[in-house]
Subunit: 219 residues, 2 copies
DNA sequence: ATCATATTTGTATTTACTCTCATTTTTTGA
DNA sequence: TCAAAAAATGAGAGTAAATACAAATATGAT
């Protein structure tokens, strides 16, 4: 696989410091997702980024800081893309479903991104739950719309994140399988307090959304 | 904290090979739970076990193999203890609840054990889900008793394991909090297809079980 | 275009660990 | 008790992280 250069390209025109940082992140995403965190060596990452070993330490204290920065960059990017695409949805419940589905779908299409998210979640679940911060707003919206009755706290978000990350990890290993992705969406809704029937109905209700239709969703 | 010697003591009288192996596992549980997997060094583990560095390699190929063996030893031990104590319960649903609660409660009382389970689950979720293999039987029992309608597959068990491990991890960090533990039990039941009301009712139904009463359960 | 500043380079050094293996010690069972 | 087998030892080779730093280079504001 050829090196990804997504963040590099985003940074064209920016300060040198930012550009180099992005080069390291691009390189790290590649090496982490290919070898895993522990096997990835700093010198290899620097080399692949076209930089000398010492340069790494101008930007990050250690590997942990780099994987955290990579995961955050990825999460921000995904969130940005999702936000725009579900702006048309008013129902909190629908937003939860579509965002959850699309988030996982996206991370499965861009496997190296997904791998880094999984890596960082395992390392620091609290920060990982932050990756799903967008869910908080949509859940609260659904509560305000009287479609859910639930207290939104960090523990709840962590439990939901655990479901999603476990699903992601499994499918990164086995390949995308829509039924599993839909099951995870259902489980999320059930944990949020919907009955299985309601969850199924809500899911069917958004099956026609463009972000789901790409896959020809069969609920 | 003084070193735990649980498995060592189990192995008194056994072959030398087994005794040394258990000494390494005891030591590993201590070091892993105190420093985490990455910071733990093989030489430190060997030293704490009263062994020379090289001895480690007579028993395990690397740290991964050791943490896997430790987690398995722990899981077997917990399963053994739980099995005996829920033998009186006939209802599959009740067994699911009590076992889930007691499993987490146990891992929270013996923090170093809990930490190793979390570590291994993060490393290899599939094997981690094996830790919860006991759940499979109880779920199938509940299905046979017509209290659940669900297909039991590996994916389902992994999703449930993810909920439990996330809860465990959070409480290892923050300390035992019964409300969170009970919430995780409820979420497990909901994922299994119970409505929130049913889940709540089932939970109340077993609140009097000895394994839960230790904590004076307030549902 | 210039130059003060910021960044990168790459080597050298320290530190810490993993893993190997020839040798020594301990165990086991007859 | 004894000898063969099993296990333990610990020094050493090899690897990589982390840090330092003086010299070289690139940058961007003016």
């Amino acid at each position: 696989m050829v090196m990804q250069t997504y963040f590099r390209q985003q940074a064209i025109g920016a300060q040198k410091r930012v550009r180099t940082r992005c080069a390291l992140i691009d390189s790290a995403i590649d090496v982490f997702s290919e070898k895993g965190f522990e096997e990835a060596s700093i010198s290899e990452i620097a080399l692949l980024a076209g930089l000398a070993n010492g340069t790494f330490y101008n930007h990050f204290r250690d590997k942990e800081e780099l994987v955290a920065a990579s995961a955050q960059a990825i999460a921000l990017e995904i969130a940005k893309q999702l936000d725009a695409r579900i702006a048309d949805l008013d129902s909190g419940l629908s937003r939860i479903i579509v965002a959850t589905y699309a988030f996982l779908r996206f991370a499965l299409r861009h496997k190296s991104w997904g791998a880094v998210l999984v890596e960082q979640f395992q390392r620091l679940p609290a920060s990982g739950a932050g990756v799903m911060e967008y869910l908080r707003g949509d859940i609260q919206r659904a509560v305000a719309q009287r479609r859910l009755e639930v207290v939104v706290d960090d523990f709840l978000l962590e439990q939901l994140a655990a479901l999603m990350i476990a699903s992601l990890r499994r499918q990164l290993a086995d390949g995308f399988q829509q039924p599993q992705l839909l099951r995870t969406c259902e489980y999320v809704l059930r944990v949020l307090g919907l009955t299985p029937k309601q969850a199924r109905r809500e899911l069917a209700g958004v099956a026609a959304h463009p972000l789901l239709v790409e896959d020809v969703v069969a609920v």
